[in-house]
């Protein structure tokens, strides 16, 4: 187990070093997420007020769109010099490669969300600091669920010709329960009369999704990548 975690950390560390040099993913994902929120703000906010529950939905739409962009590019890098094959040849359980890619992606998405949440608060007047720990937990667990299944699909599609088109097509139907739970949990916090117990229920559901998705992905990654 320690060997898997060690190898996963090495892969994640390598991805973060590569990203820190190119900053390609950071700039593009932040730009997409902020642009998405900005467009919705112009469309929906009237006299400083947005429709009920809209900020929660828009926050999660921006997370899903920017996450999808990051997922595709993260594996495109491994495809360019076929470095994914070199990772799969390492004498460690192949699930370590999956975990490493997932970890690096989570760090990147956390960075995007750190910018996104205050922007949503500012443009939609959403009370983002009302229950910060619960909101953080919802975002963290939702992001893990989305990225867990997305990392697996992005790896599976790395050799597909239409991978950029196929990724959202296969990812969103599976990830939609995570996004719905994230939206409902966040909306419960942002509501005029906050429902903390309701948000906690959605959080529990997200944690359950995370456990299922991460377990299934770890289980299927090695056989899928062997072909």
């Amino acid at each position: 187990m320690m060997a898997v975690l060690r190898a996963a950390w090495l892969v994640a560390q390598k991805d973060l070093v590569v990203e820190s040099r190119s900053r390609e993913l950071a700039y593009t994902t932040v730009f997409l997420a902020v642009a998405c929120v900005l467009v919705f703000a112009f469309a929906l906010v009237r006299e400083g007020r947005a429709p009920d529950d809209a900020p929660a939905g828009i926050l999660w739409v921006a997370v899903a769109f920017s996450g999808t962009l990051a997922l595709g590019r993260a594996f495109e890098r491994e495809r360019q010099a076929e470095t994914l094959r070199a990772l799969l040849l390492a004498p460690v359980e192949r699930s370590a490669v999956y975990l490493g890619k997932l970890l690096a992606l989570l760090v990147l998405m956390a960075g995007v969300e750190a910018i996104l949440v205050p922007v949503v608060g500012l443009l939609f007047g959403a009370p983002v600091s009302r229950a910060p720990v619960l909101l953080l937990a919802l975002l963290a667990s939702g992001t893990v669920g989305f990225a867990a299944v997305g990392t697996l699909f992005a790896a599976m599609l790395v050799r597909a010709r239409s991978r950029d088109v196929l990724l959202p097509v296969v990812l969103y139907p599976v990830a939609v329960p995570v996004i719905i739970a994230g939206v409902r949990g966040t909306a419960a916090i942002f509501a005029a009369e906050p429902d903390v117990a309701g948000a906690a229920t959605w959080l529990a559901l997200l944690i359950l999704f995370d456990a299922v998705f991460v377990t299934l992905a770890l289980w299927t990654f090695a056989p899928v990548m062997s072909e």
Binding site: A3, A7, L10, V11, K14, V17, V18, R21, S22, Q80, A81, E82, T83, R85, A86, L87, L88, L89, A90, P91, V92, E93, R94, S226, E227
Partner: protein, 236 residues
């Protein structure tokens, strides 16, 4: 690891047959060249030997044991130089070697540092060690990629078109490296189109065509002439 055998190995991609009932043995201290036209199945055979691809039928045995019986540890004994080099363009030469070295468990007690320094010296890249691999010419990247594949001292060395982009001096370096691997008892299998560079460096030659293999008998004449004779006689 002293012997790698393919036993009736076939590999299909959908309806396309890439390998057809290949049975070969590769022994320690022997350099084997796989020669043949594009799409003949050479790279597929290397991918199957490296465990990256599973055979559709048949099996590969490493010292008499199937890959499944070895588990993940089998890959510690395998080094693959791919046609696409497997290098991160945004990492320096040293960082590429250190990353893969750590992944192969070579870290600790300065062991990795020594190995990396030796690999950079073998590739004659000491003065470019801290330059990004993406800034290198194809030949320099090829030399770095070879050292990356050999960093963990594998027993089974698989080289896909190792002469690509190399100048005469670099071909000489590669020849010396192959000789060193032979003397250390490694099993070397390389796929190549470059008959002239491979001539005299290899102990055995296996022609591959349409997924089928045929070993070239030892004889007089250049590698190209012997290969063409097999093409005429065996696959006419």
């Amino acid at each position: 690891m002293d012997l790698v055998e393919t036993d009736d190995v076939s590999r299909h991609f959908g309806r396309r047959r890439a390998l057809a009932r290949v049975s070969l043995g590769f022994r320690a201290g022997e350099v084997t060249a796989l020669v043949g036209p594009n799409g003949a199945g050479k790279s597929t055979l290397l991918a199957v030997l490296s465990t990256l691809l599973r055979p559709s039928s048949g099996q590969v045995r490493y010292d008499g044991r199937a890959a499944v019986a070895w588990g993940d540890d089998l890959r510690r004994h395998i080094g693959l130089l791919g046609h696409d080099l497997f290098l991160y363009a945004d990492l320096t030469a040293r960082e590429n070697l250190e990353f893969f070295g750590r992944l192969y468990g070579l870290g600790g007690d300065g062991r990795l540092r020594d190995r990396v320094a030796r690999a950079l010296a073998e590739a004659r890249l000491e003065d470019r060690a801290d330059d990004r691999a993406g800034e290198f010419s194809r030949g320099l990247r090829q030399r770095l990629a070879l050292e990356r594949a050999l960093l963990h001292e594998p027993r089974l060395v698989l080289l896909d078109e190792p002469f690509t982009g190399l100048d005469d001096d670099s071909v000489g370096l590669l020849a010396a490296r192959l000789d060193g691997l032979r003397r250390s008892g490694s099993i070397v299998v390389m796929a190549t189109h470059d008959f002239e560079s491979a001539d005299g460096l290899v102990d055995r030659v296996v022609a591959v065509r349409n997924g089928r293999t045929r070993e070239l008998p030892p004889g007089a004449g250049s590698l190209r002439v012997r290969y063409q004779a097999v093409l005429r006689e065996a696959w006419a």
